[in-house]
């Protein structure tokens, strides 16, 4: 029983991370129907920026949790700006081009960013300061690390803020309006380019937060860390119904849970396979995903 609950907590942690990444895929898809294959790189860049900022601050003798807070915000901002630059350079010039052209541009950007990270940061893993990542507590037969608590709390916080932003604010309404009808949104005075850039920025900011969380959880980051979680989060977005915000959150949680439980009860060797089995299953049996089309109104 303890083992089960332990897995549940691990699944929740991992699922939250996938959910944060999946949101970027789904929001960008919702607004320009692009599967942004470079999205996983924002996650990796976030993990690295986290190490860089947090280690530097820690070396100045700043309190560990203050380091964390500042590092998180800076990394999110950095990735938001990186994503806006990518959108401006690699996607906006192709706005009128075929979808295949943009998709290829995204793939190219992914390779470019990943190699950029390797060239500037080196090909070896980088470690988060252990004085920040270490620690935890025993609860009955369970061990819960402080980082796990932080990750779950931060994930919930970010998801709540995102929902408020998208569904309650003026700019969130404009985002949804732009996703639904670009010509009409121009006719009411909404600049689609601004909204698209903002969407990229928000998605990348969330991915950056996820990258830091993974770095804190596992202790290290690597330049190629964006690839596998990126594809799993994409599977989560498809599972939830691509373009749907609530769907991405649910999909992320499911993929995280399935992965942890499959690793715990079936085979840890094959844990990466299950997300792809789900992806193929969804595409085969219900391509619109859980929340796709007519189920609700939380599409972007």
């Amino acid at each position: 029983m303890d083992y089960f609950i332990q897995q549940l907590i691990n699944g929740l942690t991992l699922g939250g991370v996938y959910a944060l990444i999946a949101l970027g895929y789904t929001m960008v898809y919702g607004i320009i129907q692009l599967i942004n294959f470079a999205h996983g790189e924002f996650f990796a860049a976030g993990g690295y920026m986290g190490v860089i900022f947090i280690s530097w601050l820690a070396a100045q003798g700043v309190h560990p949790y203050v380091c964390l807070g500042i590092g998180l915000v800076l990394a999110m901002l950095y990735c938001a700006m990186l994503a806006m630059a990518v959108e401006r350079l690699a996607y906006r010039p192709l706005r009128q081009a075929s979808r295949l052209a943009v998709l290829l541009s995204a793939l190219g950007m992914s390779i470019f960013l990943q190699n950029g990270l390797m060239l500037t940061q080196g090909q070896y893993d980088k470690a988060y300061p252990t004085e920040i990542t270490a620690g935890g507590f025993q609860l009955g037969g369970l061990y819960i690390s402080y980082m796990q608590c932080l990750i779950v709390a931060l994930t919930i916080f970010l998801l709540v803020v995102l929902n408020l932003l998208v569904f309650k604010t003026r700019i969130g309404k404009a985002m949804r309006a732009t996703a639904q009808d670009k010509v009409m949104s121009a006719l009411v005075g909404i600049n689609a380019n601004h909204i698209i850039a903002l969407t990229f920025a928000i998605g990348a900011g969330l991915a950056a937060a996820a990258g830091i969380m993974v770095g804190l959880y596992y202790g290290t980051v690597s330049y190629s860390m964006g690839f596998v979680p990126g594809i799993k989060a994409f599977a989560a977005a498809v599972l939830g119904g691509i373009g749907n915000i609530t769907g991405a959150m649910i999909g992320g949680l499911i993929i995280g849970m399935v992965e942890i439980f499959a690793a715990g009860y079936i085979s840890s060797q094959y844990k990466d396979v299950f997300a792809f089995i789900i992806l193929i299953g969804v595409l085969y049996f219900k391509p619109t995903g859980i929340m796709g089309e007519n189920v609700d109104d939380t599409r972007v």
């Binding site: 639904q180 009808d181 009409m184 949104s185 121009a186 006719l187 009411v188 005075g189 909404i190 600049n191």
Partner: protein, 242 residues
């Protein structure tokens, strides 16, 4: 009064618009004066909707000039025009289907920052269309055709337009609703809003408007006082079904 001596609020001069290599407007000139209702009539595919979209720069004019309030606006981004008071209710209404009625109306006032004024206008729109108030939390896409037309007009009014371009506001509506919509157009116009009205229902449009243009395959073939067009035998034959 001699109209040509006045400065039009909106004017097209020899405007050509094309979709790819097909020219949908073949050099159109027309003038809209402050405070009037001008109607554009013509058969399907004549280029009426294209004319309105070109006025808003959604379809870019490849030749010719567009003037609004005395300024050439060919190079102004479409999303900047509502701010200046040029506003369109496009063909098919284009309600944001997954925004609620209130949210759709909010979007009409997107560029405005005077929240008190916006609130006031929201009430005014709800007074004009009480049906919308009842349904304010419903998703736009689930409204009936008539309600969607009201919402589209309401959304446009939320921007406090100077010039309102209406593309087939009566399309698909029952006769009673059509009359109601035309009454509202007259009311809006009475409050000082200039209206450009594209209509299939040429009879009603010409009764409502002061002047009219007749479009045929991308060219203006006639322009006159609305009453004159209404009694013109050629027009009656071609567009009024006689």
């Amino acid at each position: 009064m001699n109209q040509d001596s006045r400065q039009p609020i909106l004017e097209l001069r020899n405007v050509v618009s094309a979709y790819g290599r097909i020219r949908a407007l073949k050099g159109i000139s027309l003038k809209v004066f402050d405070g009037e209702i001008v109607t554009i009539i013509g058969a399907n595919g004549a280029g009426k909707s294209t004319t309105l979209m070109t006025m808003c720069n959604v379809v870019k004019a490849v030749e010719g000039d567009i003037f609004y309030k005395g300024e050439r606006i060919n190079d102004v981004a479409p999303d900047q025009l509502p701010t200046r008071g040029l506003c369109q209710v496009p063909e098919g209404r284009r309600i944001f289907p997954r925004l609620t009625v209130t949210e759709n109306l909010d979007m009409g006032a997107f560029f405005r920052r005077d929240s008190a004024g916006i609130k006031e206008d929201l009430e005014r729109v709800y007074d004009l269309f009480p049906k919308l108030r009842e349904r304010r939390r419903q998703l736009g896409g689930t409204l009936s055709g008539g309600e969607q037309q009201m919402l589209a007009m309401g959304r446009a009014l939320m921007s406090r337009p100077r010039v309102l371009l209406l593309d087939e506001p009566s399309m698909g509506l029952a006769p009673l609703l059509v009359k109601q919509i035309f009454d509202i157009i007259a009311t809006i116009n009475g409050q000082g809003v200039t209206v450009v009205l594209v209509e299939q229902n040429a009879n009603l449009a010409l009764q409502c408007a002061q002047r009219g243009y007749v479009l045929e395959t991308g060219s203006v073939v006639m322009e006159d006082e609305a009453s004159a067009l209404l009694h013109n035998p050629d027009i009656r034959k071609a567009y009024l079904g006689e």
